[in-house]
Symmetry: C2
């Protein structure tokens, strides 16, 4: 974070870092339009080409987004690279669909060690824990356990479960002012316990994909930890190599 700005570095890299800082600091929020290239070039006292190169770096890193003829914007996190997309989430009619959400439990509790570790919380911290099923055509395809730190997510603890939408991140933003800017996901395989088997209509011991996700805000602080389990049978990942 506090990288030493080495003035021997190329100027476009120094500027890249300064722009990056303006995003991290929250001066430029996700979705916001930033100054025009020409304005920035003048402000930072470099040629237009140099400023373009600095911006290009941030675009290729996924922090900025250009729209020809309109301007350059701070990119919102898009979860199109999430591992979840490799579940065959298709409805009876065949089209891809966002699974509905069925809240099983919302509970405020002292954070277990595992949750504390992922959310970087001190011992004794309280969290909201949400357990829910995700369903397609009424059939459970995934079981999720979501942990959120307090007091930031107090609104979740007091909300009516029926009011929680299937997609939580826009809701966090609206209800709690917490913006998810990045995330890290891990994938493992396990044999389902009898408890999970029952929830997911599987046989005990069937293989399940487990995806753990730590979501972070603009400043990089962890604000959500979730663990999802789904039938491995529905999972199919692919990748190109060259």
């Amino acid at each position: 974070m506090t990288a030493i700005a080495d003035s021997r570095l190329p100027r476009y890299l120094l500027i890249r870092d300064q722009l990056h800082q303006r995003i991290l600091s929250g001066e430029w929020k996700p979705g916001a339009l930033i100054d025009a290239e020409s304005v920035l070039a003048e402000r930072y006292e470099v040629a237009l080409g140099t400023m373009r190169k600095a911006i290009e770096q941030l675009v290729s890193e996924g922090l900025l987004e250009r729209r020809h003829g309109v301007g350059t914007f701070v990119r919102r996190a898009s979860f199109e690279t999430s591992l979840f997309r490799f579940f065959r989430f298709t409805s009876a009619t065949g089209e891809r669909v966002v699974p509905e959400s069925q809240i099983l439990e919302v509970q405020v509790a002292t954070a277990p060690e595992e949750v504390r570790r992922h959310l970087q919380l001190p011992a004794g911290s309280e969290v909201v824990m949400v357990r829910r099923l995700r369903l397609i055509d009424g059939q459970a395809v995934q079981f999720e356990e979501i942990s959120l730190p307090l007091p930031q997510f107090q609104a979740v603890a007091t909300a009516e479960p029926a009011d929680m939408p299937a997609l939580l991140y826009p809701w966090y933003e609206q209800q709690c002012g917490q913006i998810v800017a990045s995330a890290h996901e891990e994938l493992m395989v396990e044999k389902v316990s009898s408890e999970h088997a029952q929830l997911l209509a599987l046989q005990t011991g069937d293989p399940a994909i487990v995806i753990e996700r730590v979501a972070r805000d603009i400043a990089g602080a962890p604000i959500e930890w979730r663990r999802s389990r789904g039938a491995a049978e529905r999972f199919h990942y692919h990748i190109d190599i060259r």
Copy 2:
């Protein structure tokens, strides 16, 4: 492949396509040093900056590789993004290691439908099929079935199994003149059959990761299909999202 070169496109893109073609055609082989930027710029009658931008495109696509002060090279396929890296392949001493290879069978046969489909072969084609175990510290961690089209891979059919190295691609290049330039991998989970369980020292029904790979040559023609199975327990994937 035969994209229409639209002259309304920016020049740097047109040049990008032409350079790309020179790689695909085999004029510039993997590992080769290409002409200097300045030479190319003159040859294609554009400014240096334009040529640099064309080359930059190919670099970011992973086809070329720059070495400051030395030159620009055609990149060899590197399998550092392969899904296999997510198996915990560590020896007793803890360091990462290339598993040894133990050939179980080398067989020439008419290609089954599944193999024909992946290698794009007509009905009745013959292939070499290699079955092998991969071991760490003498313990089987993966079972692989590899299919190679004939007559290109005749040398594999007649080779002594003991002479086949653990890493096959450099060997293909040396023995058969076939260069693997890209690949596509798919990942699934299955419950192991009793046959595979025995080979991998697992219990029948334990979860296994199945990785299927189609490897292609410079021109994009499929030249190898392989299916690998390993204990899901050893598999751990992770990804960053933003």
